[in-house]
Amino acid sequence: MIAPADSNNTLAIQLLGIMEPIPQNLRQSSAGKISSWIRKNFITSLGIFIVVLLIWRIVSVAQQDSYPIQYWAFQLINGLTLGGVYALIALGYTLVYGILFMINFAHGEVMMMGGFAGFFTLQLLTYLGWTNDTPFSSAISVVVMMLAGMTVSVLTGVILERIAYRPLRAAPRLVPLISAIGASFFLQYTALLMFGAIPHNYHKPSIFVGVWRIGETGIIISYTGAFIFVTSIIMMIGLYIIVQRTKLGRSMRAVAEDKQIATLMGIDVDKVIVFTFILGSALAGAGGVMLGLHNTVIRFNSGFIPGLKAFTAAVLGGIGNIPGAMVGSLLLGIMEALGPSALGLPTEYKDVIAFSILVLVLIFRPTGLLGEVLSNKKA
């Protein structure tokens, strides 16, 4: 006997989500339609609700107190600078995730080590009188400082991979993560004990002292900010070329695709992984020095929060995706700089905003802005 689908059946099908429920002939009011749509697309409607709430808040704040346009421009530039630094760190997360499918939890600390190395080099160069002598020697000292930061970060990253990650490559996924957490705290408190708890203040080299004023608008760009932004863009382009055009980059992509087949094709997987860590750590080291120049201070824990935020940026752009990390970082930098003022909150809440973005992205778009859908194995 073929009976029309009874209500019980429909409910079961709805619950299982196998197919759309059979349309009913009952006349539904439009309110009823909306409510049933909301029930079906709970996550989407929640997202819409949050967006509406945010827009409402922004509009109402904008009506109450209007900051001058210069303020917004200043914050935007600040955000772009910060975004540039985040991008350098986020690329390290993304590169490692792309290959090992693990979050290198200690990456922020690798960056911090680079920042310390840069700081001590700067101290030495200031002592030798390079930083303030002529513009040329000042520029050279910046380059030396960056190189020192990158070298120390690369060393830290490679040792980290060798000791804490390589023996665990075949282990269940929680195991390397816990090891990474351990390594992160190990490095952080090593820096605390080795270099002391006092904040170390970066004294800017003479070429960084000063600002550009753009015409009559009153918009100000500091030399440091411009340097950070431009250098990070150049480095990102460099990385992109390495990954896309060189032989090592090709092997990296092959290993990311499938380790076993890459081995069969004659690729030394260990070497490629080390190379990935070198690339990521070098960028992080440069990022650490830049962050030091930007914040003018470095401490044992100054890698932790930026590390988390860079991770957020990587997730926002789509983890494992190199252009995604860049876009996500710039976006996050801007949101963090403009967010508190736009939402009418004190600036202390900028970290809260960044973490909220992470949570929201993971709920509403786990693949990020540019990410592809990962299979279960990778996700």
Binding site: F105, L168, A171, I178, I181, G182, F185, F355, V359, I363
Partner: protein
């Protein structure tokens, strides 16, 4: 030739480790015994490196001894060169401590047997460095010689069940023996690594508890075990009466961490959800009780006629609010797994702290909440460390009871199934959403309970009490103790929370050591010291299948 190269490589690694410890300030903090510590370490490293080589190489006596000598020599010379450079810089009046904060003249002095003035003055450091090099070389040599002992046999004996039993029985008796000896002789001024004499008693208490845990593990279930359990419970109940004020205070902290560890064990150990923001719930519980009870809190000041609740009324509220917070934070992370979950919960933990810090009007901001009342029962003030310890013990027992019942229930089995494989669990008809939320909520409820107890113990609480370190401490203690096992939580709390409290010199190195321990543990023994049987089997089965599949 190859030999020398290998020895040289090991030597460089040992040198790296020694140099690291040196820059970390071990000489400065440990003073004169630093040379002994370093020599022991070199011996140990030399032993460890040389023992794991293939048999035919290890049996070659001359080869081994030469390598041991090289290991010691390389580390000794390396450290001497670095120390010499630092010493010359210090003599020139350059403050090395601006870069390496711990390298002060006293630091150099401790390594070379000189005083601070001698280091800065005209006395040469070279004789001291020569002595150091010779000592290290000797230590490396001894370490290599020890590899010739039949260690394998001993190890096999330890690994077999009967061996474990013998050793744990011995361990069980030893602390009593030492404690008795200690009491009998009344040794005054005995110090081990910065302990004071009453701390030595504490050390024996810890040893006793640790030994008891191993003994519990070794004894077969049955009458023997029940007798042991009863004996231990009675001893534990008597313990606070024998311990002095300070010892009780330390044990109280350990107790609070044990309660938290049991709670986190539900989330991480049973359900397999790596939660790094556990401190958030601890903070919620503490602040819930503090705000409802302290006469100076926002709630009590602003609710007319509300005088604040007492501990026994505040406790259930703290638990319920904690559970609700767990539920609330569980909802957004339902779809996340492993790594993502860890990072997001970490973010939540930070958000909680930032909120507490910045919502000045309600939580008091950095000024915290002060004058939190002590628990009162039948008119007795239970705020002193001994009674707090009793409360902590009671909480521990209650929580253990609930956890064991939960673990063996349908829900507990569902958690374990989910931990092993979410997809398969779901296919078996387990409602992942419900059990995940229940795991978060029950873990958070226990954290809320611990938080309320912590608040009343501390009297004043501040946002800094709820930093990320707490999450990391709790996570480390359950992982190192043995994930998923209750004895493991107790052992972990004693080793990671209790020991650093009494070994004050070690305390500075607590988190560095945790980090190193976590990494080492993951490599050497991912199931922890006292693992649950199921967990151990899972991890080892996994290893076996991995190794066979790659072959």
């Amino acid at each position: 030739m190859n030999n020398l190269k290998e020895g040289f490589r090991y030597g460089l690694i040992s040198y790296g480790i020694i140099l690291y410890l040196n820059l970390l300030g071990i000489p400065l903090n440990f003073g004169d015994i630093v040379l002994t510590i370093f020599s022991l370490l070199i011996g140990l490293l030399s032993f460890a490196f040389l023992r794991k080589r293939p048999n035919h190489l290890r049996k070659n006596l001359r080869n081994t001894l030469v390598q041991g000598l090289i290991i010691g020599l390389v580390s000794g010379l390396g450290l001497s060169i670095v120390t010499y450079i630092f010493a010359s810089l210090q003599k020139d009046g350059i403050n090395v401590a601006q870069v390496f904060a711990q390298v002060k003249p006293e630091h150099t002095g401790a390594l070379t047997g000189l005083t601070k003035e001698e280091v800065l003055g005209d006395v040469s450091v070279l004789p001291g460095l020569l002595q150091l090099t010779l000592l290290f070389t000797f230590a490396g040599f001894i370490g290599s010689a020890l590899t010739q002992l039949p260690v394998e046999k001993l190890r096999k004996q330890f690994d077999s069940k009967s061996g474990l039993k013998t050793i744990s029985r011995a361990l069980f008796v030893l602390p009593f023996f030492f404690y008795g000896l200690f009491m009998l002789l009344k040794v005054e001024g005995v110090q081990i690594a910065g302990t004071e004499e009453n701390n030595l008693g504490m050390l024996f208490i810890f040893l006793f508890i640790g030994a008891a845990l191993f003994a519990l593990r070794a004894v077969e279930p049955g009458r023997q075990k029940s007798i042991l359990v009863i004996l231990l419970v009675v001893l534990m109940l008597l313990l606070p009466h024998f311990a002095d004020l300070k010892q009780n205070a330390i044990l109280g902290v350990v107790g609070i961490f044990i309660v938290m560890g049991i709670g986190l064990n539900i989330v991480v150990g049973y359900a397999g959800l790596l939660d790094l923001g556990y401190v958030a719930f601890f903070a919620v519980g503490a602040y819930a009780y503090a705000l409802l009870s302290s006469p100076e809190s926002y709630v009590v000041l602003n609710l007319p006629g509300f005088e604040g609740v007492n501990f026994w009324a505040g406790l259930p509220i703290a638990i319920i609010i904690g559970a609700f917070a767990g539920f609330l934070l569980g909802v957004p992370v339902l779809r996340m797994r492993g790594d993502y979950l860890a990072i997001v919960t970490l973010g939540f933990g930070e958000i909680a702290r930032l909120l507490v810090l910045n919502l000045r009007d309600y939580t008091g901001g950095p000024g915290g909440v002060i004058n939190i009342p002590a628990p009162i029962l039948f008119g007795m003030d239970l705020g002193n460390p001994r009674d707090i310890l009793y409360i902590a013990m009671a909480f521990g027992l209650i929580v253990t009871f609930f956890t064991v019942r939960l673990r063996d229930s349908r829900l507990g089995r569902a958690w374990i199934a989910m931990r092993e494989d979410e997809d398969v669990a779901q296919a078996m008809g387990i409602n992942l959403v419900a059990i995940k939320l229940l795991a978060f909520a029950s873990g958070a409820a226990i954290a809320g309970m611990a938080g309320a107890l912590y608040a009343t113990r501390q009297v004043n609480i501040f946002p800094d009490n709820f930093a990320l370190d707490v999450s990391i401490n709790v996570l480390s203690l359950i992982i190192i103790g043995g994930i998923g096992s209750l004895e493991g939580v107790v052992l972990g709390a004693i080793v990671l929370i209790g020991l650093p409290e009494i070994l004050r010199t070690v305390d500075e190195y607590r988190i560095v050591a945790f980090g190193a321990l976590l990494v080492t543990m993951m490599i050497v023994r991912p199931e922890g010291i006292l693992p649950s049987t199921r967990r151990k089997r899972t991890l080892h089965v996994h290893e076996d299948s991995e190794s066979t599949s790659t072959k």
